[in-house]
Symmetry: D2
């Protein structure tokens, strides 16, 4: 923490600041300047609150110097983490492709799409059973039935699954039926849910909140890590912005930023990040080029009938083409596209 005094501070105000710092068990270091004085604080045994300093008379600013996250930080663990979901590994030198319908709509639809994405080379199957929808009048998902359908389809084609949990009740069911638990953007700061997920022994995909800073996102991961679950994959899915052409701005530079700050794998969801089919393929390729560890795309064979986000779903043949190009790109980027779980098992 660096405390900056106002330009017209009184000496006794500075003395009071120094005494306050010493009273907290820390060491103040006075830094005289041309216009004012700053006080550096060392010996930080606990997080300091800028508030306790801003509230003192004569203080102009209190600037935190150390990062607020710990277990998620590269300072805590230098090497990249690996997160396993069945035979699939998220981590350095590898690239995972997740595909499937936005929502599980029926057993027939899910199985049909599962076969297609598996045939095209997906490593994991996605599909929402509990859907967070802005409107109470929109399709909310099939719930437990949806989870069972997803599980059956995944078994039939031999892929592990990821699906979203919305609350403690659905979390229990998702835990039982899926291989990886997705925490969506709207729940990134649902701390109760994060802590509960942190107590489970299942991998977690943590999506970035609608306008979460990278610090807030890593702090959300910290909530999970702090409860003991370190199998976390971060997922960029676009942040709110002002341009109406895309649903969000997909913040791809978050990928190298996270790589610098944290040891956790980071992936991208270009389907929700752009909201439009013809933007998904370029942004999926760009995600791999930017250094992401995985990509997740919506695929639907009849997008005009999709109950959720049809306009952003790739057609199976588009996904096939994307998958092929990702394969070639992976070679150039010197990462291995995972063998799918099924191919790994004889």
């Amino acid at each position: 923490m660096l405390v900056v005094m106002k330009s017209d501070f009184a000496d006794e105000q500075l003395v009071a600041v120094l005494a306050h710092i010493r009273g907290l068990g820390f060491t103040p270091h006075v830094l005289p300047g041309d216009h004012s004085v700053a006080v550096g604080i060392t010996g930080n045994r606990r997080a300091l609150n800028p508030g306790e300093f801003l509230a003192l008379p004569g203080v102009k600013e209190a600037i935190p110097v150390t990062r607020p996250f710990k277990l998620a930080s590269r300072d805590f663990q230098r090497r990249d983490s690996e997160v396993r979901v069945g035979d699939v590994v998220f981590g350095p030198g590898r690239f995972v492709v997740i595909a499937g319908p936005c929502a599980v709509e029926s057993a027939e639809q899910t199985l049909r799409i599962a076969h297609k994405v598996k045939a095209a080379g997906a490593h994991m199957l996605r599909g929402g059973a509990f859907k967070p929808r802005s409107s109470p009048y929109s399709f909310q998902g099939l719930g437990l039935d949806g989870l069972r359908i997803l599980r059956e389809a995944a078994r039939a084609v031999g892929l592990p699954t990821v699906t979203e949990a919305l609350d403690l009740r659905s979390l229990e069911m998702v835990y039982e039926h899926a291989d990886m638990i997705q925490i969506g953007a709207r729940n990134m700061q649902n701390f109760t849910l994060l802590q509960e997920v942190g107590r489970l022994d299942k991998p977690v995909m943590l999506k970035r909140g609608m306008s979460a800073t990278i610090d807030e996102w890593l702090m959300a991961a910290e909530y999970i890590l702090e409860q003991g679950n370190s199998r976390i994959v971060l997922c960029e899915r676009g942040v709110r912005s002002f341009d109406p052409y895309t649903r969000n701005i997909l913040d791809l530079s978050a990928v190298p930023v996270i790589k610098g700050l944290s040891h956790l794998p980071v992936m991208v969801d270009p389907s929700h990040g752009t909201g439009q089919r013809d933007k998904v393929i370029p942004m999926a390729l760009a995600s791999l080029a930017a250094g992401a560890n995985a990509v997740m795309v919506d695929v639907h064979d009849r997008p005009g009938e999709a109950l959720c986000d049809g306009p952003q779903a790739l057609l199976p043949e588009e996904f096939q083409s994307l998958r092929t190009r990702l394969g070639r790109l992976a070679e150039v980027m010197a990462v291995t596209l995972q063998p799918s779980a099924a191919r790994a098992s004889p």
Copy 2:
């Protein structure tokens, strides 16, 4: 819904769009233009999804024309709603002042501040017992003990209370101990929580999400309304923006925007909206001038020791001064500052 065809659409694509619309039981109206053709759709018995049209070949855009919210809309109810919390009324011609500590820290601190804000003319007491904090290492609130402390202090001074519920478990406790349930910004799209609150017979303060559009905010209210609870007060608390000088941009124009769209009362929290004590008073006055129905401010008598958001808390004497100025401003704005609950009872 207005469906716009691409400039190079084929006739059979237009025919397919018309057939699709008729197949859904709606009526298409072809609007020829210079560069393309648009198709208006009428007979909307249910919400149409732009996706079903965007997915058809030849279609360039699908523009929704009607608002996505219903029960929250002024089209549904023309006159302003009134929401009662004890003797306090949020609604047209009135202005409510809520004050108290950001967090309940101890029985002594809460009672001390409660006396001060009551003496200065607050109508309701605020105080957090369950605190959503970005960091798992920050003070998380006193929980059930905090609720009890808040209730005791409120009874002692004769003010109704508002406090935040974070999840289903804390909601049960807040329902039992508080007079108004606050749903915070981070939970604005926690739909499970919204639906549960919608089934309760207690008034709700629904804060705007960190970067929620006004449509999304009203849709969140719709989740509550649709379950039967119509005692909702919307609370603007700033949206995310790019300038580091304030914690958020307090979007005061949301007040007249909401007044135009919805019958629900709307209020402002300038403490969280700006994050800085010396911005709170001007923005509280501006809230009243902009037509808000209430204002909620953090007050702390020892902000340097506050466990949460000290820098934004007004000192009791600052609150007193604000309250006096609000009183004078209210006369000019032709609204009545509520008699406090205590003064109303003999």
Copy 3:
């Protein structure tokens, strides 16, 4: 400047940083921490560039501690500045009301509206002769003819004028014909124009850029101040945001923020800030309550025929009503609504 070392810095890297600082003629102060080391720099005879430190091996962050603006800063001048335009004064204890058409469309239209806003109690007349329009196909203003029309109308009713200059050529003409030069949002970082305005002896209204930070805005003022012109009034006009209901988010908290940082007067343009007539009155009142020194509103008696921004123009009778309410509000806020120039002259 505070330079923070990476957690795994090497001793020789720290030594190199210290040598670099001394080589620049400054004094380094080492601040040991738990995880790393920070180095405070004092003796700042010139602005330091974080870049020179970030580029050194082992350096993690370089945090500027002092503000980048000088002449605009309250550290430079503690008391509030006063800016005179004819008999009108922008400054502490006063509130100025500027009104008029968005664009000068004809002599008849301008004179008609000038009479109406004067009668209603405006202190200055606005009206664009050079209009910056997003589209090359939109009405671009009457140019020099417009300036002459505005001047004639203003003389006829006895009000000083403000109008926008777009470039060096129009600046020359605006300088000759208007009483105050407006620099628009799109030109806030047109540094050539700022410097030229800085060499003139006319007051300047400097609008905030579309998404300018407050630091950038004050730095733009610094460009003008540094050339010798200190008669600057800052004008908040909304910043870009994500909600489609308003054209911009009017950032009213910029008013108290500027008051804290700078001695320059600050005003608000709620017409361009909201883009909608029925939001203008509440936000104009809120501007005064938030502590602004002036407000500028578009007025048009036939908004349906306006060549520019008709939907945000107040009708003359709406302006009259706003002006009356501002008068009453000013009393409560203890500021004087300026006598209009005409009333001041016998």
Copy 4:
């Protein structure tokens, strides 16, 4: 244009709207709905202003249906444009690499870096002689001397140049000395400058404004096109956002969005887009993968001494490595990395 009536509109208000439309020489089409009525307008011989409709009584919304840009639109020209700068071609199936120092600092520095980027395979040389700086106290560039230095260095190594013009005066000089004129983000809506550039016979690199929508960006191009200059390359350079880790959010999805809307080539500047050296390489690779036609990066061999933006400059060896990887990536993406001008000439 689609005009939507309020739910409580009066019949005579609708009649007035229809008369108004016919009076303008257009044809109204009434579309009855459940809650209200909408009116489609066809026969658009000129741009309609939503304002003229919003100002009519009973009207709730006026929704423009056609795009505001024409010459920049793919509706106007279906095939991708090619823009030549010397032997370098920006256009379909090709990828151009531009590199050089942020600012021209001296003849020696520029020549040194020019040799290095040429040797590494750059196709064009960048370098600022006129620098738009937020602070009047920052280095503003060497001006005309800088242009001459850049030209000499470029000739020595055989590369065409691009450099920024800030105003009409510097534009004249840039026109004379450089091969491509850069219009920077801060000048994207400096319409006088755009129109002047539009009258020149030199290619233009048009950077996106700090928070410009894609429509505004294409409209800025329209200003240039409309004056007769169609040799425009659009350059994405990041938009303002809320996260402090990067200088801007690089909006890579703008690349496919522009590809859908316009025939103009589009490129990316990841150096200014991220502001940090270690984010530049991943984002440059991602730009190519996303379908951009070119990339421009800052290179400096002594970034610690750079007078401008040192922290974002690649070291020559980093640029070499990037260039090699771009070459391999280009093969996978089926685009040709241009032969550099020099290699093309024997």
